[in-house]
């Protein structure tokens, strides 16, 4: 059970970091302090992921097209391993995410949550909410004109 909670937390963390704007992510990461000593297990690498859709939204999967992704893996002196995936092309961002992930696995999850994850999540949700509110204002209110006979 606690394993699942840990997996869910890591999944949520990595998902937020992968979608964060690179410049903002790197700002917050630099604000957190100096990067810890680490060994690079997989140097930052730019590649793609094939995005799939489904026929009729619910049927057979098909290939929609690719997105660019950068990934990186690191190991801290303590042995904690971190994996970073970010959308787009940024070696620095992928390495920062791998380090944030490794440090979180190394007992610093709460501090990183407060310093980096919380603001990123709030900004992403704020952006989404702002668009949803603009969309709501464009919702059609139908009314029927009653014809006088």
């Amino acid at each position: 059970m606690s394993d699942q909670i840990e997996i869910d937390a890591r999944k949520a963390r990595l998902s937020t970091l992968a979608k964060a704007p690179h410049a903002r992510l790197l700002d917050l990461w630099q604000g957190f302090g100096a990067a810890p000593e680490h060994e690079v297990l997989r140097a930052p690498e730019i590649g793609t992921v094939m995005v799939r859709g489904r026929a009729g939204a619910v049927g057979a999967p098909f290939n929609l097209g690719e997105i660019t992704v950068t990934r990186c893996s690191v190991r801290l002196g303590s042995g904690a391993v971190g994996h970073g995936y970010v959308q787009g092309r940024s070696h620095e961002a992928a390495r920062a995410v791998a380090l944030i992930d490794a440090l979180s696995e190394d007992g610093q999850a709460a501090a990183l949550e407060a310093a980096i994850l919380l603001p990123l999540r709030a900004e992403a949700e704020g952006g989404k909410a702002a668009r949803a509110e603009k969309a709501a204002a464009t919702k059609v209110e139908f009314f029927t004109i009653v014809r006088g006979e």
């Binding site: 995005v51 009729g56 098909f62 603009k134």
Partner: protein, 365 residues
Amino acid sequence: MYVAVKGGERAIDNAHAWLAEERRGDTDVSELSLAQIREQLALAVNRVMAEGSLYDPDLAALAIKQARGDMIEAVFLIRAYRTTLPRFGASAPVATGAMACDRRISATFKDLPGGQVLGPTFDYTHRLLDFALAAEGGEVPEPATGAATEGDLPHVTSFLAREDLIQDEPEGPATPRDLTREPLDFPADRPLRLQALTRGDEGFVLSMAYSTQRGYGRNHPFVGELRVGTVPVEMEIPELGFAIEIGEVKVTECETVNQFLGSKSEPPQFTRGYGLVFGHSERKAISMALVDRALRWEELGEDDMGAPAQDAEFVLYHSDNVQATGFLEHIKLPHYVDFQSELELIRRIRAEAMAAQGDVQEAAE
């Protein structure tokens, strides 16, 4: 036949240098930044991403700048760049039912749950040039806001499916065929056709769709739903042992509800066409859905009307604008040897024909 020719290096270098100068244009006019293209020519960026089959707005903006706004050239640049990258894997199919919608309309149900949400649309604009945009630094009006709807917007087809009024979408192989990895091969199943259509040339797919409306393989479509918004992209990460969201894409989805079919064993049901395209591109998504539906004639047991849009080989072999451009434009490259042989041939045939005519004339006299 193409024969390698040497020479022309200096001319080519000079031509490219001049191209760079022409690309920049008048230097008294400030240079375009990639951010400007990305933010202010977003629909051009969307089209290059969709047809380039690579979602990366900054790269698409660079391609548009480098191509001087030639969209097919920009698509070509993106395709070429894509081939240099390793592929890390494939995502789980995106869940468009959970889309954060900017826009969502239905032409079939007025009062659908979640409502008709117009979003930032050109629809209902008067198509009059707005000269206020010609003046820079104009005030941008603040759009109105309203109370956002909680929860996901249900797909219109799900209402019809609940009553069994529309055909089921059958499951397919978990790993669909990929025409960027293997040559296009026929018969092409629906997943392969959808991949070709989503990356196909917008003009071509539009014309094919239009031809079905004008009677060449008519399939009576209603736009059940058109939605534009963002969906997360989730992928299983082997080193983690679970899936994470590795990104987010804006997509346009169109579901058409088409003429119904019935047989002795099954009561009549509506059928479906489907369009899903990177970025905000309604024309492309609707076109894709119409052509998808036309190409399904065989699996739905319809007649082959001989319409171009029903012919999978015709549609799929001609939908790719990079392939088409490559083959079309190669004929402007040197074909000196080819042409020399043609020239010699026609001289000989003419000489023989004229000699034969002379013989006939002599004989007549």
